[in-house]
């Protein structure tokens, strides 16, 4: 029997997957061992659990309820700028949370635009902090994702169905009941589950807009147990609770969800014959665009004013962020490329599963575990930046794999036999065929990873001492010190860095790339 021939070796990928699994499960074990010594849940912990579930449910409900009319409008209207708007719906994914929060505060905050307008009519200003602020921010981030997912489901309805329904004389409500409602019934549970799962692990939004005993998520409670009380046992206990919650939800979300919302083909407009009221669609499209663009425009406008008198500490933080993002992207690619290569080569379900473990893990739980593990050996604060880069890499890994695995599979299937028949070594196939052929996907994945890391405000808050900060953390500190102009300047800088890093890497991957 001939040895089973493979153009690439599976072992580096298995090794990388084992590293990821060891990091996620090892920190988890460290947390779990620590949790046993603690004294059980306090009423505050239960309140955090309740708030976490409430805000995630409300965020999911509002995001999806608003996404349906927006997606419906986008599905049946063609207008100039439609492609740009749909592309814009993908942007919040790589938008730094702190930038969006600043923009939302400037629009919806106590001294924001809306409150100013209300003041003209003698009405009291809006209070954004607390549950509704958290939900508002989550809707801002997840309405676009939900819209893309629902739009995808809409576009998957074969055009023939609409033609047949039109031919039978269905219109308006009848068309909705016949075709669209069954589609929504199938698609919406998955979209709800995805948004719910995302909002469960929300940390930066709760940190900035929540807080206090009545608006604390579990992630935030972990952070507070850590930084305010330095109660590692309680942080560990909360981490275990968070983990059970995310794992259960991730399973449900995976079961329900089909597409991932990054797919192409969304720019196709369906030809329909049921007319419908253009005014309603126009309203929804404009409302969604304004809701998404206004906070960003506000950050840009206020940021330009603050840009030229930012304290030097902001630039220092920006340099640190660039370094962390570069290191994180490099680590992510070093993990993702071997894993994608291995998964593309056969049935390595466990390897793939390890790669997407990051979806169920919470960065603060990993951070807590790493803190517990590192503390006997070194001062965790001195390792704040490497730990941040590492955790960011693991969190971005699932998205990178979704991009890289299909490409690696395709290339291996197409060129694997030729490479084998030429007696190419596994390393040569990897460097001379796989890497050059995957350049566009590698660039896209690296761009996502760099932007996510650049904008991340999570583990760094757990580890950093006052001397050191990434740009998002520095902006948060400036906001806490009410230096709003410097914060706005920093936010504009962060926005430019994140989007710039994404654009540069994505473009770099496609530069002179052949078909």
């Amino acid at each position: 029997m001939a040895e089973r021939a493979q153009p690439v070796s599976p072992w580096p990928g298995i090794g990388a997957a084992a590293l990821v699994a060891a990091l996620i499960l090892g920190t988890l074990a460290a947390v779990a061992l620590r949790a046993e010594t603690s004294g059980g849940f306090t009423p505050a912990d239960w309140a955090a659990l309740r708030f976490t579930l409430t805000q995630a449910s409300l965020s999911a409900l509002f995001s999806v309820a608003l996404a349906v009319p927006v997606a419906r409008a986008l599905a049946r209207r063609r207008f100039p700028g439609r492609r740009a708007l749909i592309a814009l719906l993908g942007a919040p994914f790589i938008l730094p949370v702190i930038v969006a929060i600043l923009g939302l505060l400037q629009v919806f905050g106590r001294s924001g635009w809306i409150s100013d307008i209300l003041g003209v009519f003698g009405l009291p200003p809006i209070r954004i902090y607390g549950l509704h602020g958290v939900v508002l921010a989550h809707v801002f981030f997840n309405l676009p994702l939900a819209t893309r997912l629902v739009l995808q489901a809409w576009q998957e309805i074969p055009a023939e169905r609409f033609r047949l329904a039109a031919q039978l004389g269905c219109n308006g409500l009848a068309m909705f009941r016949l075709i669209e409602m069954p589609m929504l019934n199938r698609a919406l549970p998955g979209v709800l589950a995805v948004v719910f799962a995302i909002c469960l692990t929300s940390f930066a939004v709760a940190l900035t807009l929540g807080g206090g005993p009545r608006a604390t998520t579990i992630e935030l409670a972990i952070y507070q147990a850590f930084t305010y009380d330095f109660d590692l046992g309680r942080a560990a206990l909360l981490s275990a609770l968070q983990l059970a919650l995310t794992a259960a939800t991730a399973l449900i979300a995976l079961k329900f969800s089909r597409g991932d919302g990054f797919g192409t083909g969304l720019d196709r407009a369906l030809r329909r014959w049921d007319g419908g009221a253009p005014a309603i669609d126009t309203f929804w499209i404009i409302a969604a665009a304004v809701f998404l663009l206004l906070p960003l425009a506000s950050v840009v406008i206020s940021g330009i004013a603050g840009f030229f008198n930012m304290p030097a500490i902001v630039f220092r933080a920006a340099m640190i962020s660039i370094l962390v993002a570069a290191a994180s992207t490099a680590v992510m690619l070093l993990l993702a490329l071997p894993i994608a290569t291995t998964v593309a080569n056969g049935r390595y379900g466990l390897v793939e599963l390890s790669g997407i473990l990051g979806l169920a893990a919470s960065p603060l739980v990993i951070g807590t575990g790493l803190f517990i593990l590192i503390r006997p050996l070194a001062n965790p604060a001195s390792l704040a930046l490497p730990v941040t880069a590492l955790v960011n890499a693991v969190m971005a890994l699932p998205f990178a794999l979704r991009i890289l695995i299909p490409a690696a599979r395709d290339i291996t299937a197409r060129h694997g036999r030729l490479a084998l028949s030429l007696d190419m070594t596994k390393w040569t196939f990897f460097t001379r065929v796989l890497l050059p052929r995957m350049r566009a996907q590698i660039g896209f994945a690296a761009g996502l990873g760099a932007a996510l890391s650049m904008g991340d405000l999570g583990v760094i808050a757990l580890f950093a001492d006052p001397q050191i900060a990434t740009l998002p953390l520095q902006i948060y500190r400036l906001m806490g010190a009410y230096q709003m102009q410097a914060a706005a300047g920093g936010a504009l800088l962060l926005l430019l860095l994140s989007m710039g890093a994404f654009w540069l890497l994505d473009r770099g991957g496609r530069w002179h790339a052949e078909a």
Binding site: R417, L420, L422
Partner: protein, 230 residues
């Protein structure tokens, strides 16, 4: 001599038995109805499929436990015979050194292979900048520098028009004659077999029939071939 000794190939729910010998230096066409296992047979000889039973010998040496790249054969597939991101020269060079840089002498070999397939001066082009026929010539140039004793063709010219395909087959015949190599060629077109193959193997009814002289086979076809030819 290529010998398939009591070979049984399994592919899903169908099996193929082969017990044949092919003399070195002959050109053999493999024909038969689609789905009968022509490509499966070729892939097994090339080492991309495992044998369920039996062994394959080349000149008395067992080769059925060797990896595809270690077998004494070059193969052209139905498609994907060139790497699209490498130039014609780089693609040809892979036949000499799949894993390294070429010596001066080897570079000369690549150039003369380009000359031999009438692609002088086109070595720096990528496959997308070449026509279908030119792409086939690059693949053949690589086969040329590989200097393997056996050449396996799995209908690599199927996408070309009739005249171009005939031209390529003539070129293959010339190259095979010059190198005195052995040719195994899958085809669904009796014209191809008549054009360049001295012998023809019929694959039908889960069985690889022994090679017969091409002319005689077509003049006096057995029932299963008659059914296929219609």
């Amino acid at each position: 001599m290529l010998k398939l000794d009591g070979c049984v190939i399994e592919n899903g729910d169908f099996t193929l038995s082969a017990d044949i010998e092919i003399k070195a230096g002959t050109s053999v066409a493999i024909i038969g109805p689609s789905g009968a296992g022509k490509s499966t047979l070729l892939e097994t000889i090339a080492g991309f499929r495992d044998l369920k039973q039996g062994q394959i010998f080349w000149n008395g040496q067992q080769i059925s436990n060797l990896l595809p790249g270690k077998r004494p054969m070059a193969m052209l597939f139905q498609d994907g015979n060139l790497f699209p991101h490498l130039t014609a020269e780089q693609n040809i060079a892979l036949g000499l050194r799949p894993n390294g840089r070429l010596s001066q002498d080897e570079q000369t070999q690549v150039q003369s292979a380009l000359d031999r397939v009438a692609l002088q001066g086109l070595g720096a082009r990528k496959p997308s900048e070449l026509s279908g026929g030119q792409q086939s010539r690059v693949a053949l140039a690589r086969v040329l520098v590989q200097r393997r004793e056996l050449l396996l063709l799995d209908e690599p010219f199927a996408a070309l028009g009739p005249a171009l395909k005939a031209e390529m087959l003539d070129l293959v015949a010339e190259l095979v004659a010059e190198a005195q190599s052995t040719l195994l060629m899958v085809s669904h077109d009796p014209q191809d077999a008549r054009r360049i193959a001295d012998q023809t193997i019929l694959v039908a009814d889960e069985n690889v029939h022994v090679p017969a002289r091409t002319e005689e086979l077509f003049e006096n076809p057995p029932p299963s071939l008659r059914a296929y030819l219609g």
